[in-house]
Symmetry: C2
């Protein structure tokens, strides 16, 4: 067991789970954590494989060992609830504020020994082991809860946990990019109903980040400026797609959104990643985060399925090219209608949007909170 | 009305619909087509907008006028059934083999006057009108039918229609890329249950094609060879992911598939697009196409939701870099379980595969037909 003090009066206590994984409790009121994981040790799955898709030169993670993972278990068997009575879960304590632990069925995991990916193009020896880290971030012990129903204090603790994980994972030699995200709703494929976030720490630059890097690099070469800063400046100038703003953050539907309800939340003073956020920026995040997620659910008065991801600069490259922002995309386009990635989107990468961003921004602005 | 003779004894008869759109009947037995569209003229939607997503320099189609399109109408109101009695549909005749007509609610349509897209990067004047063509390809008048239940003759006629459309659309000055595809199943978002294919003819190079072009270009520069040819050669050499083969075509699960059930069908003598297929290659397609779609449905003995797309070389560039192939991807990973594009796939572009391609190839090979 070890403990340390983080920002915003959050303390972190590390304990070891019965199979050797670490569970980290993030607490805002100095809680003491010592509950023992008394489950029998289960064998851990092996590491997956990375294969290069030669047609687009992108790595694909082969994680066939995950096919048997728990799939929408009933509440009584939820592995993300705190341990109570006979239900021995992933979290040994009987309550928690925020906990982070390695995913039991990770797509990416620590490699064995020296590790490197070949730098190849074409159908050669295009394989590697799927190195990286997949962590689960539980942010409420209320099974029926939701991010938007957290208190500001809880969001602040969660942000501190994401910050701390980003800092720590950035030090791992084989990690190149870190993406904390939340999938919400069976419509986006959650396999555990208990609200939770995840962190994927990749040993390669994910394809979309690679694209963002190359575009930002060209833009900097031609203009001397950071692309994302100009994008935010344009949204602030245009005004009509902004849905919320405070002293440190602005939330908008991007000019060329791909989903009917897509929100980007960006700090007004740009930073590369969560670890670089100032105390003042961090303290101002909970209010705008709760406001936009409430506005999103308010549009149709139903819980909106969404993916909420932190875009960060990669750990070791392009630190001056990409900026931290929080992107929320909902697959819902109307009550009873979802946006699917069909022929055009899925195979051509050509998105068709069903709603003007100005219109969806207006709808979200007009929600009465 | 006009008629012409195509390959494989297919005749094409063009008629004008009441709102001015053209409907093309493709027939294999010299049928005569003259049924008049007697529906009242409805106002046609305007053209959509293209907006540049500056962060990745990709065009997004804003087609807000499509939000009100028909959504899973009951069989009695199906607009893709032939016209019978009181049901006046998109197809005026009382039967058809294959028909192609402009989508009533197209994402892309003919531009007015001179048309060009700005060549920009960053948040500038990044807009254009959504020029292009969206066509509907109905390949069976049987509402409850399915591609895999067609006869070889019907698939041959359908292929001739796709070929013909590719040839004709290639001559349109503002068209840069043509993608015939079929979305099958509500799980991939079909809004009309009647089985049908679509053709999207883009006025820009779709992002995924752009990526394929740039990778194939690098590969050619370094090796002097066409990437896709080497990919097919590798699959034939490896053997273990091949699921069907005939004199002119091979079908395989690609080495780095992104979906548990993904099939690529490629001609053994490479061509750039459908228009370049020889008569012998075309004649050999129906048998392998029907075999692989039957094998796909046979794995779990249920109709598999899928997206089946023809990848072609762009119309006016990279003709010697990209090759024709037919890609089928199913979102089903197990009975009762779908593959969703969640945090990692959707926001990072990093795909996680749940099944080894060798395993899914074996499952499909072992289906008893």
């Amino acid at each position: 067991m070890s403990s340390k003090q983080l920002g915003a009066k959050v303390s972190r206590t590390d304990l070891t789970m019965s199979d050797g994984r670490t569970i980290r409790y993030y607490d805002s009121a100095g809680q003491s954590r010592s509950a023992k994981d008394s489950r029998p040790v289960e064998e851990q799955p092996g590491i997956g494989e990375l294969r290069l898709d030669p047609l687009v030169n992108e790595w694909v993670v082969m994680a066939a060992h995950r096919q048997g993972r728990v799939f929408l278990p009933p509440k009584e068997l939820c592995p993300l609830c705190p341990t109570t009575g006979d239900l021995l879960t992933e979290i040994p304590d009987s309550n928690y504020e925020v906990v982070v632990f390695d995913n039991k069925n990770p797509s990416l995991r620590s490699p064995v020994g020296d590790w490197a990916l070949p730098d190849l193009i074409g159908p050669g020896t295009d394989t590697g082991s799927a190195a990286g880290k997949c962590e689960v971030v539980c942010f409420t012990d209320n099974h029926g809860g939701s991010f938007k129903d957290l208190s500001e204090r809880q969001v602040r603790t969660l942000l501190e946990a994401w910050r701390d994980r980003t800092e720590e994972l950035s030090k791992v030699s084989y990690i190149r990019h870190i993406a904390p995200f939340e999938n919400r709703g069976e419509e986006v494929g959650v396999t555990l109903a208990h609200p939770h976030s995840q962190i994927y720490a990749y040993s390669y630059i994910p394809p979309r980040v690679e694209k963002m890097l190359s575009v930002a690099k060209k833009y900097k070469e031609s203009s001397g400026k950071v692309l994302f800063d100009d994008v935010v400046a344009r949204e602030i100038r245009d005004q009509e797609r902004i849905i919320a703003k405070n002293e440190h953050w602005v939330a908008f539907v991007p000019y060329a959104a791909r989903y009917s309800f897509e929100i980007h939340v960006a700090p007004l003073s740009p930073v590369a990643d969560l670890a670089e956020l100032s105390e003042a920026q961090s303290d101002a995040f909970p209010s705008i985060a709760l406001e936009v997620t409430k506005r999103l659910d308010g549009v149709f008065n139903i819980p909106m399925a969404y993916i909420a991801t932190w875009h960060q600069a990669p750990v070791r490259e392009g630190r001056d090219l990409l900026r931290l922002h929080w992107q929320i995309t909902s697959v819902r386009r109307a009550p009873g209608k979802l946006k699917y990635l069909a022929g055009s989107e899925s195979t051509m990468g050509a998105f068709i949007m069903d709603l003007k961003p100005e219109q969806s921004a207006k709808q979200m602005r007009e929600v009465q909170l």
